[in-house]
């Protein structure tokens, strides 16, 4: 436990990074190689950090055709969006799973994404498709975020603080809410004119590459502030892993922590979703991988690890999609797909969650 300063081991595997198909193979290999020596958690985080830097440099600088400045600026904006998305989903999922004492549910699975879809659909239904473009801007981003935060806080507080603290019931509630929002959305979508529907459908998939750079300063600020608050609580988060009773016994004000942390989770996910669209399984995938690869329960390692893994997945994935498969738009679809497979492989190999 008392690990503070680790030398960054220059593992040979760091060199092969960007080419590694998304990441399940590289991950699997490093796991097996790491087992005999088992580097301390700090070193593991550092290794993934190096991978991220390599992937980011490759993404920014390789295969530029035409104007360097133009391509570089666009890619930098996309990279910024990916940082925000990776941070928000990774941190939100880890914190959510810790405060709710489970490693299955994520905010996205608990109806967040379908709420976002429903809000977009309702907006087009009421005001017409052009309203989406007309109202784009900071106020809408903020209003959407606030609405989703309100929804989430009310729901989560009610679900997790009450007498219903039963994982299966929660899963059911999440699925039912998702279905309810989803079917309401598809009902509304059926009533839309084809033009309106077309304008809407662009908003309903996660997108990294065509997000607006002007939101980034605000997004970074939100991430930094939330990140600072969460980091300040990293040791308290560790105690929450012991469950409510033990945490209270250790002097943690459980109700207060639960509320504060769920609000932060809601802010992160709502903001990331409003910024880049829904990504249901991304946080889940990243958090699960982080638990497996960090080698400790401590949040001071798990949180950075989850963020870096998420960023690596996005950057390396975007790089590959853009330059190897020429299908940049499908990144989020692929991540959800590959993520599911990686998750199953790890799950089957380990046999536990």
């Amino acid at each position: 436990m008392p690990v503070s300063e680790q030398p960054t081991p220059a593992e040979p595997q760091t060199a092969t990074v960007p080419q590694a198909p998304t990441d399940e193979r590289g991950r699997g290999r490093s796991r097996r190689r790491l087992r005999p020596a088992a580097p301390p958690p700090g070193a593991r985080v550092a290794i993934v950090g190096v991978l991220v830097v390599v992937a980011a440099v490759c993404y920014l600088l390789l295969f530029i055709r035409g104007s360097f400045q133009f391509a570089f600026d666009r890619r930098l904006t996309t990279l910024g969006t990916m940082v925000v998305v990776a941070f928000a989903h990774a941190v939100a999922t880890v914190v959510f799973q810790t405060v709710t004492s489970n490693r299955i549910l994520t905010p996205s699975i608990m109806g967040f994404d379908s709420l976002y879809v429903m809000m977009q659909t309702a907006m087009v239904f009421v005001f017409g498709g052009s309203a989406l473009a007309r109202t784009d801007g900071l106020p809408k981003l903020v209003v959407q975020t606030v609405l989703m935060v309100l929804f989430a806080v009310l729901l989560y507080r009610w679900l997790f603080a009450g007498r219903f603290a039963n994982l299966h019931l929660l899963l059911l509630v999440g699925v039912v809410l998702g279905l309810a929002f989803g079917s309401l959305s598809s009902f509304l979508q059926r009533l839309l004119s084809p033009t309106d529907y077309d304008m809407l459908s662009v908003r309903l998939f996660g997108r990294m590459s065509n997000s607006d750079g002007s939101y980034l300063p605000l997004a970074f600020t939100v991430c930094l502030v939330v990140g600072a608050v969460v980091w300040h609580r990293r040791h308290r988060l560790d105690t929450l892993l012991l469950g409510r009773d033990t945490a209270v016994g250790l002097g943690v004000d459980h109700k207060r922590e639960l509320t504060v942390l769920l609000v932060l989770v809601a802010v992160l996910v709502a903001f990331a979703t409003a910024l880049a669209g829904p990504m249901t399984f991304f946080g889940f995938l990243v958090a699960t991988l982080a638990y497996q690869l960090t080698g400790t329960h401590e949040h001071r390692f798990v949180l950075p690890m989850a963020f870096l893994l998420g960023l690596f997945t996005l950057v390396a994935g975007q790089f590959l999609m853009q330059h190897v498969f020429y299908a940049a738009g499908f990144l989020t679809v692929i991540i959800e797909f590959v993520g599911g497979i990686v998750f199953l492989v790890l799950l089957l190999r380990k046999g536990t969650l």
Binding site: H235, T239, L241, G243, D245, G249, L250, G251, V252, H297
Partner: protein, 252 residues
């Protein structure tokens, strides 16, 4: 001293405990006994502020357990529940180190490491310190939980059935270790015990509950009498003297 007055707990109008008024004296071991459903765990978890009462209050050394800052309370009072479900996979040493949280807020000092080592040593867990909890037997795990609570270094230690899952040998060992904690470390230990004979052999006082009421509180000779035990457990109990100790017999 732990004092509680008019302490009352009801679920949907059904009273499971109280209103009860009473006190647990400082020092030594107090055992709470009683049949199933008597409200033992309810009383203990409310004293440990894990469960909000429907009415009444609990004070420790004059401080209200529900309104005092949780962190301050955690330096005076520790509680171990019967079931412990952890989300993370922990090593014994990591678990015990959590006991230092009220003092260090997660940043362990030299002093904290010393307390952790002492708690491990005290419960003979030093050899097992680097094992994961899921690699331990039920009894070893139980000892690890108790070590965490002792590492918390509080004057008052509340334990909900610490002998659960323990065989004869380990039950005796656990009780001896708790006895030492009370005698050598000066802790006030309150525990729930199912076996009245264990309670009689190792504790200083017994508090007997039945149907959500405190039937009686007293020293071992006061409680270990056939008429008292028969009344508490609603079962014919006779008390024999074995090696100079009272032993309750209730198997026939």
């Amino acid at each position: 001293m732990i004092q509680f007055s008019d302490l009352h707990k009801a679920y949907q109008g059904d009273t499971v405990l109280g209103p009860v008024t009473g006190a647990i004296e400082k020092g030594g071991i107090t055992s709470i006994v009683g049949p199933n459903g008597a409200g033992k765990s309810t009383l203990l978890t409310m004293m440990g502020r894990l469960l909000d009462p429907t009415g009444g209050r609990v004070t420790i050394e004059g401080r209200d357990v529900f309104t005092t800052k949780s962190r301050e309370m955690a330096q005076q009072l520790s509680i171990l529940r019967q079931e412990n479900q952890f989300t993370a996979r922990l090593r014994v040493r990591e678990l015990v180190a959590f006991g230092r949280f009220p003092h260090s807020q997660g940043r362990l000092t030299e002093d904290d490491h010393r307390h952790v080592a002492e708690a491990l040593e005290f419960l003979s867990l030093t050899q097992l310190a680097d094992r994961y909890l899921d690699q331990l037997s039920g009894g070893q795990r139980q000892r690890a939980y108790v070590a965490m609570v002792l590492a918390q270094d509080t004057d008052y230690v509340l334990l909900d059935e610490p002998l659960n899952n323990l065989d004869m040998k380990h039950s005796v060992l656990m009780m001896r270790q708790l006895r030492r904690a009370a005698d050598e470390l000066g802790r006030t230990i309150v525990l729930i015990i199912h076996d009245i004979n264990f309670a009689a052999a190792h504790s200083d006082r017994i508090m007997a509950l039945r149907d959500g009421e405190i039937v009686t509180t007293g020293t071992i000779p006061e409680i270990m009498r056939p008429e008292v035990l028969t009344d508490v457990f609603d079962t014919p109990v006779s008390v024999l003297e074995v090696d100079g100790r009272p032993v309750a017999v209730y198997y026939s």
